[in-house]
Amino acid sequence: MSLLKEPDLGTPAKAGLATVTIEVDGLPVTVPEGTSVMRAAALSGIEIPKLCATDSLEAFGSCRLCLVEIEGRRGTPASCTTPVAEGMKVRTQSPKLAKLRQGVMELYISDHPLDCLTCSANGDCELQDMAGVVGLRQVRYGYSGANHLAEPTDTSNPYFQFEASKCIACSRCVRACGEIQGTFALTIEGRGFNSKVSAGGTDFMSSECVSCGACVQACPTATLQEKSVVQLGMPTRSVITTCAYCGVGCSFKAELRGTELVRMVPYKDGGANEGHSCVKGRFAFGYATHPDRVLTPMIRESITDEWRQVDWETAITYTARRLREIQARYGVGAIGGITSSRTTNEEVYVVQKMIRAAFGNNNVDTCARVCHSPTGYGLKQTFGTSAGTQDFRSVAKADVIMVIGANPTDGHPVFASRMKRRIREGAKLIVIDPRRIDLVRSPHIEATHHLQLAPGTNVAVINAMAHVVLTEGLVARDFVAERCEGFEEWAEFIARPENSPEAVEELTGVPAEELRAAARLYATGGNAAIYYGLGVTEHSQGSTMVMGMANLAMATGNIGREGVGVNPLRGQNNVQGSCDMGSFPHELPGYRHISDDVVRGTFEEMWGREIQSEPGLRIPNMFDAALEGSFRALYVQGEDIAQSDPNTSHVTAALRAMELVVVQDLFLNETARFAHVFLPGTSFLEKDGTFTNAERRINRVRPVMPPRTGKHEWQIACEIAEAMGYPMRYAHPSEIMDEIAALTPTFAGVSFEKLDKLGSVQWPCNAAAPEGTPIMHVDGFVRGKGKFVLTPFVPTRERSTRKFPLILTTGRILTQYNVGAQTRRTANVAWHPEDVLEIHPHDAEVRGISDGDEVVLSSRVGQTSLRAVLSDRMPVGVVYTTFHHPVTGANVVTTENSDWATNCPEYKVTAVQVGLKNPPGRQAATRAEELLPAMAD
C-alpha cells in the first residue's frame, strides 16, 4: 500500500440525531447539530485552509486561516469555531478571503526557516501545504525583523525532537497533550509574538511528558518530529497493523521507506485507540531488529553444552523424534506445551491443536494462567463467558468509574486516556488499590474515593460494598428479579454482620465510612463501570474476587448497556485471544469443557483424531509433575517462564528435571538457559494473523516484512505435528481462522476477508451478530440468568511474620512490558534502567535505608537485591516492585501460593524483609546480620 494519509476534517465529529442542512459554495450538506462549518465543508468535499485545527482536537480558533463569509453575517468568522445553523450559506473563496489568508501566511512564513527542501517534514508539512493552497508568492516583511530562528532544538527525548525555530505556536501539541493524552505536560508560555511552547519550563525528558507522541502527531510542522524520520527520511508506504504490547490492542499504520520501518502512527480508524497510542506501541519497536534476535534454530544434547546452529528441518525432526521417544518411554501424558499471549490467534490455535491431536493429550496451558485465569473462571461462573462485558468506547458513558487493582495509566495507557477524558467531563472515580496510583491524583483528576486496602483483602472490601448496597436498600430489584438467580441465598450471606464495613475495617485498613460512601456512589451515581487488573486476579482468592465484582454489578443492575460492566484490563496483547483459542487444559476453543462429548466430537471429526476427555496439566501442575518425574518434556511458545513465573527456584528445578525443553522465542531468554532446542520466533512486524484485545476485538496483524527466521511460527507447529505423524497443513493463516470459525460458535462469522472489510470485529461474531458484539449480556446473560455466587473471604496463607514483616506487591510501569525482553532492547530503558523497590519512608527509616540505597529483598523462598526508592504511595508495611529486568529477578522471592480455583499465582502478596545490602558502619551491619540468618531458613 502507498503511504496512507487519513483525511483530516478539521474538527471532531459530533454525535446526535438532529441534523442541520447548510450550503457551502452552493453545495448542500447535512450534518449533525453542533458540527463546525469547517467539518461540514470538508464532508461536502471542500477543504478550507487551516493550521490550528485538526479533527482529533476541539477547535481553538487561533490561526485565522480558515476564515469564511456567511450570508447575512458580518465579518469573516473562523470556520473551525463556527457551528452550522439551519439554512446557512457559506462562501469559502473570495478575493477578500484570499487576501486575508495570504496575509496570515505571510506573517507565519516570515518567522519560519526557509529550508523546506532539506527539512525532515518536506512533503508532510501543513505550513508548506497551506502556503501553496493560499497562493503565497511573496513575503513582504523580509526575514530581518525579530524572529525565533535561533531557538535551540530539544533532543532530550530518545524518540522525537523539538525544533523550536519551526514552531508556529498553533498549540495543537499543547491541546493534544491535554485533550487526547490527558497529561498536560505542555503549555504556551508568553503572549503574542513571544508565545512559545514549553514542557513545563524544562526539556521534554525532564518534564511530566510520558512520550506518548500525541503532540508529535498533532504538530502540523517539523517542529515536533520523530527522530527516525529525521534520520531515515519520510516514509513512502504504510501497512495497517496492531500493536504487540498490551491488551488495549491499538491499531497502527506502520510507515516504511522501502523495507525499512520508519515510524508507527496510530490509526484513526482503529476501534480500540481511535488515533492515539503510548510510548511502547509508537516508539519501542526497535527490538524487532535488535542484534540479540536469534534467527537460526539451535539444538544441544544437554543444557551444559554449547548451542549448535542447525537448519529448520534438523531442528524440527529432532524435536519430533525426542518428543515421541519420551512418550514411548514415560507415557503419552509425559509431554506438553505452553502457548503465548504474544502470538497470534492462529499461532496459538495450531499449537493447542498440535498438543491435543499430535501429542495426544490435553497438557496445554497458556501464560494467561499466571495473569487472568481467575477472570476466566469467575466471569464464566457468574455471567457465562470469559470476557469483559464492554467495548472501550463505553467508558465515555460511565458516570462512576471504579478501578480495582489496576494501574491503567501505566499498564493500559491508551485506555487510561479515554478514562481520564471522561473523568475530566465529570464522571466520578473510585480507586481500590493498596498503592496510590497516578490516577488517584493527577492534573484535572482526583479520585472521589481511594480505598487504600491492605494487600490480599480485596474480597473483604468488595463483600463489604455489597453489604452496604444490600442493607441500605440500594439493590436494583427489577434487574435482579428479571435477569439473575441465586439472589436470595447470596443476600442472606452478604447481609451477615461479618461482611459489614465496620467488621472488616481493621483487617482491610479501609475506614468503614469511606467504604460506605464509595458503595453508595457506585450504586446510585448513574452508570457505574468496573475496570480491574492483575491486582484482582493474582491472589489466592482471585477467582472469588472476580465473582464478588460480578455480584456487585448484578445487584446494582450495572450490566448489559453502555457505560457499565465488569472489565478486565488484560496484560499482554493477545491474552484474550490465547484464552479464546483453547489454550486451557480443560477447555477447547470457545471455552467449552473438554468433557463435553458433543463439542469434542466436532473437533474429532474435523481433526480426524480422538481427543482425550480428561483435563490436562496446568503450568504449575506441569512443574510439580516434572519434579515428581512423570512430566518429561515441554514446548514453550514465546513465554519466559523462568523469569515471569513465581518462585523461580521451583520453576528452574522443574525445567532442569525435564529431558527436553523446547523454547520458541525471539531472544535467548532465561528459560532458554534450560532448553535443548531453540526455535526462533517472529516479531509482530513479521506476523500475519489476528490479535484479540481486552474488549474482545479481533484485529489484523499484517506483516511489514517476511519472517526474518525464514518461517512463520504457525508453520513450525504444523511441521512438528507432521513430523510426529499428524499432518497439519494450511496454505495461509486465513485458513486457520476459517477452521477456528467452523469449530467455534462465537467466531462463526469471523474471517480475514471480513476483518479486512470492517477493520475489526468483537466476538461473538456469528449469524446473530454478523458485525460483532460491542457490549455483552444486553438482553440476557450468556449463561441465561446471571448467577450470584457466594464469595466468603478466606485470607491468604501468606502472612507477615517477625522474620518477614513487610508485604511485597508487584506491578508494571508504562515504558516497560512484562519481562522486558522487548522493551529492554529499546531506548525505553531511558525511563526505567532497572527495577527498584518502593518503600515507605517510615519502613525505610527504621531499617536505616535512604533513597537510592542498594537493598536486599528476601522472602521465605529467595532473595534479590535492588535499589530502594522512598515513596509514600504505599501504606506503611507494604513495599512494591516491578519485574521487568531479569537481573533483579523479582520472582525469585514470590511464592507457590496460588488462586484456589485456577492456580493463578499470588504475585500480589509476599511476606518479605528488606535490609541494606552494604550497611555502612557497625550498627547497620548488625541489622543486616540479623536479617541474613532469617533468610536461610
Binding site: A653, P833, R860, T864, G889, W900, A901
Partner: protein
C-alpha cells in the same frame, strides 16, 4: 545495554518452599476452605466437581492415594470430596 543483559543475576534462592506438603494436598485444602460456608454434603460435592473439572487424572490419583495414606493431612471437606471422587 548489551552488557547489562549479560550481567549475572543478583539473586539467590532456597529450595524450601512447600514445607514438604504435597501439591495435591495443598491445593485440595485451598479449595476446601472456600466451601466451608456451605453444608458439608453440598460442599464436598462442589469440591469434587471442581477437582473433576480442572485436575488432570494423575493429580486426582495422587490425591486419592494421599487421602488413603494420610487422611489427617486433608481438610475434612477435601477428604469427603476425595471419597466422592473415588466412588
Amino acid at each position: 545495554m548489551g552488557a547489562e543483559l549479560r550481567m549475572e543475576p543478583r539473586t539467590e534462592t532456597r529450595t524450601e518452599s512447600h514445607g514438604g506438603i504435597s501439591p495435591q494436598i495443598r491445593m485440595a485444602n485451598e479449595i476446601a476452605v472456600q466451601f466451608h460456608h456451605q453444608p458439608p454434603e453440598e460442599a464436598a460435592a462442589a469440591i469434587a466437581a471442581h477437582i473433576r473439572a480442572f485436575w488432570e487424572p494423575r493429580m486426582r490419583a495422587e490425591l486419592l492415594r494421599r487421602a488413603e495414606a494420610e487422611p489427617q493431612a486433608l481438610d475434612p471437606l477435601a477428604l469427603a470430596a476425595a471419597r466422592l471422587l473415588r466412588g
